[in-house]
Symmetry: C2
Subunit: 393 residues, 2 copies
């Protein structure tokens, strides 16, 4: 009998970073439900429920709406490998790390990728997309990240969707950090393919990637001339497992789907509008507090993502030391900067269960403490007061 590894015992954390975020005990409990086979009729009902709940959260009637068996990036790859064939012209909007990732994935599918790039921390200007689309012509799809997790930019979508329609191109949206936390109307905004992750505003552990495809996108998949390069992510087969046919493809991650179903139910019990309002209010309170401390946000007003708040780190504050202090003294995790913002930004997520007044107030005080021990003193009282003004009006 071997026993050299200690008992698994992850210690306390308050997750206020870019995800995973806090999850409800209801979700964890659901994940411990009796294990079922992936072809059991009981599980097929759970799959149907999950698809229906996902449609409500995506605000879509799309038939092809299901969770892929991988994390958010698997959703990105699913959309790209199924829609792109080698030689297709594709426009990717790049305003952060996840736009860069989209470009990389599209290139690996053999697309001719034309990217519209802006500096990290800026939103995409639709005029730039319109210009490139005209120059290139014959565009298969236009792809953009709705909520850029690396910079905290919320990208308005309707005008980009119009441009896609003008060119008869598919409109592809990364909603990893927006779904369930920020308004996202898949049908009304003419989105043809959209994917997300479970560990952000849906407040479920990581492991699945909800994906939805319009009937236009389905048609493109049905009319492909080449096989999808990924067997694991091939929707032409996966839809036969999730559809009426129930043809075995791969073994679905049963317990993760239990968790997602429960998480989606929690989202809808709160109601989408109320949930978006809560995320906005907690973000507004936090931003108010941050600005009252004399710090500033990366994203310009009008483009600030309420789920992921990117704060500029003061010049005389060391990023790693501050985050280590928060972890050590408070058990709080926040995210560091990615790409161009490495060492220059903190990425603070108030998503799902993590989006609470308690967490906003606590983090403002804890951040002030973490900076003060480095000699950068701010007015905590003013910060808390500014936050409370948002709550108490």
């Amino acid at each position: 009998m071997e026993r050299e590894f200690s008992q698994l015992n992850p210690g306390y954390r308050l997750l206020l970073g870019p995800g995973p975020v806090e999850t409800s005990p209801r979700v964890l409990r659901a994940m411990s439900g009796n294990l079922l086979g992936h072809l059991d009729h009981q599980f097929l009902d759970i799959m149907n429920d999950t698809m229906e709940l996902l449609r409500k959260v995506f605000q879509t009637k799309n038939r092809l709406t299901l969770p892929m068996s991988g994390t958010g990036s698997a959703g990105m790859e699913t959309v790209m490998v199924n829609l792109i064939e080698p030689g297709d012209n594709v426009i990717v909007c790049v305003k952060g790390v996840f736009g860069q990732r989209m470009r990389d994935v599209a290139e690996r599918c053999g697309a001719n990728v034309y990217s519209v790039e802006v500096p990290f921390g800026q939103p995409i200007d639709p005029a730039d997309v319109r210009k490139i689309a005209k120059e290139v012509g014959d565009i298969k799809l236009i792809a953009v990240v709705h909520a850029e997790t690396s910079t905290g930019i919320l990208q308005p979508l309707p005008e980009l969707s119009e441009i896609a329609k003008e060119h008869d191109a598919l409109f592809v949206v990364d909603a990893v950090t927006s779904l369930g936390g920020v308004e996202l109307k898949v049908d009304d905004w003419g989105i043809d393919a959209c994917y997300s992750g479970t560990q952000k505003a849906l407040s479920c552990p990581p492991g699945l990637s909800p994906v939805t495809m319009s009937s236009r996108a389905e048609k493109v998949i049905a009319e492909r001339k080449t096989k999808v390069q990924s067997w694991y992510l091939d929707l032409s087969m996966i839809q036969n497992y999730w559809g009426q046919e129930r043809v075995y493809h791969h073994t679905a991650p049963i317990n993760m789907i239990y968790g997602l179903r429960e998480a989606l139910q929690i989202v809808l019990e709160e109601g989408l509008e109320a949930r978006f309002k809560r995320h906005q209010q907690n973000s507004d309170a936090f931003v108010g507090g941050i600005e009252a401390m004399g710090l500033s946000m990366i994203a310009p007003i009008g483009y600030r993502l309420p789920t992921l708040n990117a704060v500029r780190i003061p010049e005389n504050v060391d990023d790693l030391k501050a985050r280590a202090y928060l972890l050590d003294k408070y058990g709080i995790e926040i995210g560091g900067g990615l790409g161009d913002f490495k060492g220059k930004a903190w990425r603070i997520g108030f998503m799902g269960e993590s989006s609470r007044r308690n967490n906003v107030i606590l983090l403002l005080a804890a951040l002030a403490d973490a900076m003060a021990v480095q000699g950068h003193r701010v007015d905590v009282g003013a910060a808390v007061e500014a936050a409370l003004e948002v709550y108490n009006g």
Copy 2:
């Protein structure tokens, strides 16, 4: 407040099919541990433990040994997309559905696939592989399924490994239904790439795919001329997250990794040899009982997989009716036939927690009952007695 979906409440099942199988409450409990961020130092320790435990179970010293963030088929795709470049010559041994899947995946990577095929229910004859390897020449890899889940064939590996070495080809093994239940010596048998699933003999819920790569395989990956076609499964990046660098790639499915770590610990507490012996004994007892009932196994003696027992369905017994009866009266799930064996075989898994004397005895009696109600009567007493003879000697 919306509440039209009922509470998630999956009913009782005894899982004796091709997987998922029963899991330990310890594993479910581990999965409910405090959620950590994917870059938290506490989680990095858990990742290190998991890799080390996996090495012990794979019986390897391979540095590159980790769980991929997808189910078993994602492991298959990981191995193929990382090792194959377009135009490579590849030999795939096909003796069932999962061999066919390997061929399909390798073709999607742009390989020239030469397949060695035998009828479903037969093992591969190494002489056939040797012949084709000589004819084709310049072979990049030879791939085979160790434990063919669709037919219950256990394929001996050492001679196939020798052939790969003779041709300086990589030896690739699908161990989805063997790892943790059947002897598998990755290093001693000269296996260069091996993948598995969590929901078989490791007795963990589905959602991850353990993969291990030899230093030869690592070198092939490092010297690729083309980018790996899958971003999500690109080991050149993923190894930097699981390695010392800890570079963010995608958000790992934290709770699933908690579960896998616990499941691996349970495997090693029992000990590999004891575990293999248990699987063999329960399978022997079941096969003894099946034959005493006058039924027969698909796999010939010497090639029978103890984890997955494929039984030929008597001609006058209806497959679907019998399985529905087992589900309805006993809550027992067994698997139906796949591919050529659809409607002709039952696939019965005694893996991990499901591999128990109780389940063997119960299933023999339940199967006899399910056949009797269709008018096919067998001697239950003789079946149980034959099984007990194996246990009691």
